[in-house]
Amino acid sequence: MLLSNLPLKNSGKIIGLTAKGEQRRRLLDLGLIPGTTVMAKRKSPSGAPIAYLIRGTILALRKEETDLVEISP
């Protein structure tokens, strides 16, 4: 399942990234490494971006980014 489909208040574990190049680097640097637990915390009024709890920090990610992250619920 994709991180973008993770419902609010739910958690999942990252199993892989389909992002390539610079975008992949960026996501890895933000702490989205396979094995990391991610929790969807909050949604902005328009529905995107969504705030996720990732390795002790809350990060807002766009759908274009979370579409590139595969998780297992």
Partner: protein, 266 residues
């Protein structure tokens, strides 16, 4: 052609980063993730002596300040807060270029003790770029409150760099931070950080690229970390080449001391 690396040299680099080189002080850079209390450390070290400046051509502000320890003045540069040096956002390129090209005498990485795992990414990246690194483990009071215990000695042993726990807000640990900075800048202590080893195919590629870089960058090879550069090129990072060109080959100075960019045909 613009000035050669030899004639433009190191000083222009420092000038292009807006650093006053008239006063011959060791330069210390402060790096770290956002929200680690980097600016608190900066203010605690420099007191009221700080003043702010701008990176030429950049909107990101950079603060510099002076502190004195054991009768030695140090110039402290507050770099933008970043999670990485490799993702090529403006802030990250500034931090990277400063450590890589202006080559401060010491880089202090300020890390959040309550969230060490996330912070170590940047620490390792800085260690890959330069030897003179100290880890300032800030927000130790917060960590204690959250019942996080950190084995400082073990951490220091594994990274092979000094690790100083601090509570910058209460000035706790800052004397130790200044003391270790003094010892490193005066070369009483030499640091050889742990260097990341990559998979065999990456290391083989580095071995192939290194000799090429040595020949091509002969003039400036002593001013750059060639292994680090080789790794960036393998990764496909072109911005680092642009930076090399910018800082080493296109800089020239006019009489007002302003740094000008010189076209390839001049």
């Amino acid at each position: 052609m613009g000035l050669t690396a030899k004639s433009s040299g190191f000083n222009v680099l420092k000038e292009s980063f807006n650093i006053d080189i008239e006063i011959n002080k060791p330069v210390i850079a402060l790096a770290g993730n956002p929200n680690t209390g980097k600016s608190t450390v900066f203010n605690a070290l420099t007191g009221l002596k700080q003043h702010t400046g701008n990176w030429p051509g950049k909107t990101v502000t950079q603060a510099q300040g002076v502190f004195t320890h054991n009768n030695q003045d140090f110039l402290l540069i507050d770099l933008p807060g970043t999670y990485s040096l490799l993702s090529n956002s403006t802030e990250e390129m500034i931090a990277r270029d400063f450590i890589c090209f202006a080559r401060p005498d010491l880089t202090i990485v300020v890390a959040d003790a309550t969230n060490l795992e996330r912070n170590l990414n940047l620490v390792i990246q800085v260690m890959e770029l330069t030897d003179n690194v100290v880890l300032c483990l800030n927000l130790m009071d917060e960590a204690r409150r959250k019942k996080i215990r950190i084995d400082i000695e073990k951490l220091s042993g594994e990274l092979q760099i000094p690790v100083i726990p601090t509570i910058a807000r209460e000035n706790d640990g800052l004397y130790e931070l200044k003391e270790i900075s003094y010892k490193i800048c005066t070369k009483q202590i030499k640091i050889t950080p742990y260097k990341m080893k990559y998979s065999e195919n990456v290391e083989e590629a580095v071995e192939k690229v290194l000799p090429l870089l040595k020949t091509r960058l002969n003039q400036i090879s002593d001013k750059l970390n060639l292994r680090w550069l080789a790794l960036r090129l393998i990764e496909g990072d072109k911005t680092v080449l642009e930076s090399i060109e910018k800082y080493f080959f296109k800089l020239s100075k006019n009489t007002e001391g302003q740094v000008l960019s010189c076209g390839s045909n001049c």
